[in-house]
C-alpha cells in the first residue's frame, strides 16, 4: 500500500472512530445527553484521537527510519569487496542501487548491484506491507480501547482538552527548537572549521582568499581565512545604508506623524511601505543594473575611479530598502509620546519644530535607537543585494568607491555550487554564519530590550 493511501485510510478510520465514539456515548447515556459528563462529540474526538494519533506516530517514525534501515540491510547482503570501499564510493553505490531499482538503468550494471537492487525493492515492498498492517492494527486497537473506556462518568472533554493543550504547547516551543537548531548547526561545523584554522586567525587575520587555500594545501599557515576584510566590508556597506536610511526614514516619519494632513498621510504612507514589500532580489537587480552604472558614470564625470561593483551602489540601494523599516518604527515611537508633552511645549511658546526637536525626539530617542539597531542588524544580514551588486574579492579598504565583499556574499559564494563537505572552504561559510548569527542576535537582544523598556515608560 502506498504511504499516501495509508495516510488517507488512517484519516478515514479516525473519522469512523469519531462516529463510533459518539454513538457509543449516546447509547450508554440512553439517548439523553444529560446523563453524560461531556458532550457526545467529545467522546467522538476522544476515540478519533486514540485511533489516529498512535498510528500516525508509527507512520512518521517508520518513514523517518525506513530508508536507512533498508539501505543497511541491502549493504549487509552485498559481497564484502563492494562494501569495504570509502564512504564516498559507498554513497555512489547506494545511488546506483536506487537508480536501478527505480528503473533508470544506464549501461549494463554489475550483476551484484542488480541483485542488490532487486533485494532493495523486495525489502521496500515488505516494509510497506508491514507498515500498513502495523498502522491499521494500531488504529483499530486504539479505537477499541477508547470505546471500552467510554462510560457515563468518563471525562472525555478534559482528556481531549488536555491533548489539545499539549499540541498547542508543542507548537509554541518550536521557536526554541528552531533557535537551538540554528545554534547547533552552525556551531558544530564552525568547531570543525576552527580545528583546521585557528579562531584568532579567523577573527583577526587580514587576508581572505578561500579559493587559494584548497589549491595550495597549506590551510593553517597560508593566512587565507582572515575575515577582517569581510567584517570591514559589511560594516562599510551597512554604514552607507544607514547614512541613507536613517535621515530619510526618520524625517519622513516625523513629517507624516506631525505635519502631514490625514489625506496626504493616507496616500504617502502605504506608497512608502511598498519599498518594504519588494523582494530583495529585485533590489539586487536594481542595484547591479541601474544604480551601479549610474554611480560609476557619475564618478567618471568627476574624474574619480569608481569600481563597477562599488560599495556605494550596494549601500545606497540597501539604504532605500531600509527606509520604510526605520520610518515605520520611528512613526510608532513618535506616536507613543504622550500628547501632554506636546501640549506642555506648545504652552511654553515653542514652535512645532522646536517641540519635535527638543521634546518629542528626546522622549522617543530610546525607541528610535532601538529601531536603528534593528535596522543595522537587518543591513548586516541582507544577502541578495550584496551578492548581486557588491564585489567578490576581499579588499581591506574603507573607500566607498572601491569594491568590497561582505560576510553574506562570501557565505553564498562558498556554499553555492560544488561542495566538498569536509573542506575548510565550505566549513568557513558556517563559521561566518556563526559570527553573523551572534552579531545580529546581540543587536536584536539589545534593541528589543531598549524598545521594551521604552514602551513600558509611557504605558
Amino acid at each position: 500500500m502506498q504511504k499516501s493511501t495509508l495516510l488517507f485510510l488512517l484519516v478515514l478510520l479516525s473519522a469512523a472512530a469519531y462516529h463510533l465514539g459518539r454513538r457509543r456515548s449516546l447509547q450508554i447515556a440512553g439517548g439523553t445527553v444529560r446523563n453524560l459528563h461531556s458532550l457526545p462529540s467529545y467522546y467522538g474526538y476522544f476515540a478519533a484521537l486514540w485511533c489516529g494519533f498512535p498510528a500516525l506516530l508509527v507512520l512518521f517514525l517508520w518513514i523517518a527510519f525506513e530508508n536507512s534501515i533498508v539501505i543497511q540491510l541491502v549493504l549487509s547482503s552485498l559481497p564484502k569487496e563492494l562494501t569495504s570501499a570509502s564512504a564516498d564510493r559507498l554513497g555512489l553505490l547506494i545511488n546506483d542501487i536506487r537508480n536501478i531499482a527505480s528503473g533508470a538503468v544506464t549501461g549494463e550494471p554489475d550483476p551484484a548491484i542488480k541483485a542488490a537492487a532487486k533485494h532493495y525493492l523486495s525489502l521496500k515492498e515488505t516494509s510497506n506491507r508491514l507498515l500498513s498492517l502495523l498502522a491499521i492494527s494500531i488504529a483499530i486497537t486504539g479505537a477499541a480501547y477508547a470505546r471500552q473506556r467510554i462510560s457515563q462518568e468518563f471525562r472525555a472533554r478534559n482528556q481531549v482538552e488536555k491533548s489539545v493543550t499539549i499540541f498547542l504547547i508543542g507548537c509554541s516551543t518550536l521557536a526554541i527548537f528552531t533557535t537551538i537548531g540554528i545554534v547547533l548547526s552552525v556551531l558544530f561545523e564552525s568547531i570543525r572549521f576552527f580545528k583546521e584554522v585557528p579562531i584568532t586567525e579567523f577573527l583577526f587575520g587580514l587576508n581572505w582568499s578561500p579559493q587559494m587555500a584548497i589549491r595550495q594545501d597549506q590551510v593553517g599557515s597560508s593566512g587565507a581565512f582572515g575575515a577582517v576584510p569581510l567584517f570591514l566590508g559589511t560594516l562599510l556597506i551597512s554604514a552607507i545604508a544607514m547614512v541613507v536610511a536613517v535621515p530619510i526614514g526618520l524625517l519622513s516619519a516625523i513629517y507624516l506623524s506631525e505635519y502631514a494632513g490625514p489625506k496626504f498621510r493616507a496616500a504617502a504612507k502605504p506608497l512608502l511601505e511598498i519599498l518594504a514589500g519588494i523582494p530583495t532580489v529585485v533590489y539586487g537587480f536594481f542595484a547591479a543594473l541601474v544604480v551601479a552604472p549610474f554611480v560609476r558614470d557619475l564618478g567618471v564625470r568627476f574624474g574619480l575611479d569608481v569600481s563597477s561593483e562599488s560599495a556605494l551602489a550596494a549601500g545606497l540601494v540597501m539604504g532605500i530598502m531600509i527606509i520604510p523599516f526605520v520610518s515605520s518604527l520611528s512613526d510608532d515611537f513618535i506616536n507613543a509620546v504622550p500628547q501632554s508633552l506636546r501640549d506642555g511645549a506648545y504652552a511654553l511658546g515653542a514652535t512645532q519644530s522646536e517641540t519635535i526637536r527638543q521634546v518629542i525626539i528626546p522622549a522617543a530617542l530610546p525607541g528610535i535607537v532601538g529601531g536603528v539597531l534593528l535596522a543595522i542588524s537587518r543591513a548586516i544580514g541582507e544577502t541578495m543585494i550584496v551578492v548581486m551588486a557588491a564585489g567578490l574579492t576581499a579588499n581591506l579598504t574603507v573607500n566607498p568607491l572601491a569594491a568590497v565583499t561582505t560576510v553574506t556574499t562570501q557565505i553564498v559564494t562558498l556554499l553555492v555550487g560544488d561542495q566538498e563537505f569536509d573542506s575548510p572552504k565550505t566549513l568557513a561559510a558556517f563559521a561566518l554564519g556563526l559570527v553573523l548569527f551572534l552579531v545580529t542576535l546581540a543587536l536584536n537582544v539589545i534593541a528589543l530590550h531598549v524598545v521594551r523598556k521604552y514602551r513600558e515608560q509611557y504605558e
Partner: protein
C-alpha cells in the same frame, strides 16, 4: 528656549522686541524643518517610482517575441523518406535541413560558409522542434509549401525591438551589416512579426533566452509555498493561541517570546544554513526540492504568523471571553468557539503577508541548492525545482543581452503576485475588521 531667556535677561530693549526679532528666525527654522521632512518623503516616493519605472521600462518588451515567417517546403525526402507517416520516423526527420533549405532559397546569393552560418543563426535553435511538432500534429503538411512562423534568435529579437544598435563600428555590434540587410529584407516582405510571448509563460528555464520561461519557477514557488503554508499556518496559529490565551506568565513563556522575537530578526541566510545542515545533511532530504525549501521558509515565516496571530487575538475584547465563561464554557471552548472565529481575519491577514514575504525570499533557498539549472517543470514537492526570485537571480547573472529583458519581465510577474497578495490582505482586513 534657553536662548530666549538669556536674551531677555540682557538690558538692551524691551523683551517683546527681542522675541519679535527671534520669531522671524524661529519661523524660518520651522519652515526649513518642515521642508526637510517633505523632501525626504518625496525622495522616498521617487525611489519607488524610479524602481518601478526602470524595471517596467526594461521588462515590458519581453512579453513580445519576434518570429520570422518562412515558406517551408516540407520535403518528404528529408522527413518521411518511406512515405508511411510513421510517427517514429517523423520524430527523427531532419527539420534543421528543411529550415536551412528554405533560408538558402530565400537568399540565393549567400554562398560563403561563414555567411551561411550567420544566415541560419537568424532563427532560434529550437525552430526545428517547432516544425517537428507541427508535422507530428498534422502530417498532411508533408509535401506542401506552408508559411510557418518560427521564433527568431534572441539577438535578432533584441535587434528588432530596437535594443541593439544598427549603426556604429561593425566589430563592436552583435548584429552585423549583412544580417541587418537580411532583416530589413524580411521586414519589407512582412515576414517579421512580434507576437505575444507565450513561451515565456509556459516553458521552463533554458540557456536560450528566446526559449526560457518562468512556468517551472512558478510551479516551484507554488509547491514551496504550499509546503510553507500547510506547516506554518496551523503551527503558527496554535502557538499564538497558546501564548496569548493559555500560557501562564512565567520565565518559560518569556523565554519562548524572546525566542520568537529574535527569530523574526535573524537574517534569512542563517535559516538557509540551518536547512542545509539539518534538513539536507542530517535528515538526508533531497537537495533543491520544494519540500526542503518549504520547511526552511516555514521556520522563517512562523514568527511573522505568530506575532500577527497574537495581536489579532489580543484585539478580541475580554467581554467576549467573560460572556462565554459566564455561561459555562470551558476555557478551551471559549477560545475555539468564540475568540478564535473573531480573530481569524486578522490571523489570515498576517498569514498572507507572511506568505508574500516567503514568496519573495531567495537567500536561504540558495543555500539548499534551489539554484540549479532546471529545465523540467516540477510535478511534486520532492523533485528538484527553483522558485521565481531565484530564477530572477539566475537570469540576472546570465550574460546574454536578452536575459536582461526577461529578468525584468520575471520581476514584473513576481511583483504582480506580491501586489495581489498584499491587496488581498488589505481587502480581508477592511472587509472583516471589527472595531470594538
Amino acid at each position: 528656549m534657553n536662548e530666549i531667556c538669556e536674551v531677555s535677561g540682557q538690558s538692551s530693549g524691551r523683551t517683546i522686541d527681542v522675541v519679535h526679532a527671534s520669531l522671524i528666525r524661529r519661523r524660518r527654522a520651522e519652515k526649513r524643518f518642515r521642508l526637510y521632512g517633505l523632501v525626504s518623503i518625496v525622495l522616498g516616493l521617487c525611489f519607488v517610482a524610479i524602481l518601478f519605472a526602470s524595471i517596467i521600462a526594461r521588462g515590458y518588451t519581453a512579453f513580445q517575441q519576434t518570429s520570422i515567417g518562412l515558406d517551408v517546403y516540407f520535403d518528404p525526402e528529408l522527413i518521411d523518406p518511406e512515405g508511411r507517416r510513421d510517427p517514429v520516423t517523423l520524430m527523427e526527420g531532419d527539420y534543421d535541413r528543411l529550415l536551412k533549405n528554405t533560408l538558402s532559397s530565400m537568399f540565393p546569393d549567400v554562398k560563403a560558409r561563414q555567411e551561411k552560418g550567420a544566415l541560419y543563426r537568424l532563427l532560434s535553435s529550437a525552430a526545428s522542434y517547432d516544425l517537428r511538432d507541427q508535422v507530428l500534429a498534422n502530417p498532411e503538411l508533408i509535401g506542401k509549401i506552408v508559411r510557418v512562423w518560427v521564433p527568431a534568435d534572441d539577438d535578432i529579437d533584441m535587434f528588432v525591438k530596437g535594443q541593439l544598435p544598427r549603426t556604429g563600428a561593425e566589430g563592436e555590434r552583435r548584429i552585423k551589416d549583412l544580417q541587418v540587410a537580411w532583416i530589413d529584407k524580411l521586414e519589407a516582405e512582412g515576414r517579421i512579426e512580434k507576437s505575444f510571448n507565450t513561451a515565456f509563460f509556459t516553458s521552463g528555464d533554458s540557456r536560450e533566452p528566446e526559449l526560457a520561461g518562468i512556468w517551472g519557477a512558478v510551479m516551484g514557488s507554488l509547491f514551496t509555498l504550499l509546503v510553507t503554508l500547510s506547516l506554518s499556518l496551523p503551527i503558527g496559529m496554535a502557538a499564538a493561541i497558546y501564548l496569548e490565551e493559555f500560557a501562564p506568565r512565567n520565565r518559560w513563556t518569556d523565554f519562548i517570546e524572546v525566542n520568537i522575537n529574535n527569530l523574526a530578526a535573524v537574517p534569512s541566510i542563517v535559516f538557509g544554513l540551518l536547512g542545509l545542515a539539518v534538513f539536507i545533511n542530517f535528515f538526508g532530504l533531497p537537495r533543491s526540492s520544494p519540500l526542503v525549501g518549504g520547511l526552511v521558509l516555514s521556520l522563517m515565516t512562523l514568527p511573522v504568523i505568530i506575532i500577527a496571530g497574537r495581536s489579532a487575538l489580543k484585539a478580541v475584547p475580554p467581554s467576549v471571553r467573560e460572556a462565554a465563561l459566564g455561561v459555562g464554557a470551558s476555557s478551551m471552548q471559549t477560545v475555539f468557539h468564540h475568540v478564535l472565529p473573531l480573530a481569524v481575519p486578522g490571523m489570515m491577514t498576517g498569514a498572507i503577508i507572511g506568505m508574500a514575504r516567503a514568496l519573495g525570499e531567495s537567500a536561504p533557498l540558495l543555500m539548499i541548492g534551489m539554484v540549479a539549472f532546471i529545465v523540467d517543470i516540477p510535478r511534486g514537492v520532492l523533485e528538484p525545482a527553483t522558485v521565481l526570485p531565484v530564477q530572477i537571480y539566475l537570469w540576472a547573472d546570465s550574460p546574454e543581452r536578452a536575459f536582461v529583458e526577461r529578468t525584468s519581465a520575471a520581476i514584473i510577474v513576481l511583483l504582480v503576485f506580491l501586489i495581489f497578495m498584499n491587496g488581498l490582505a488589505v481587502y480581508i482586513r477592511k472587509r472583516f475588521e471589527r472595531r470594538w
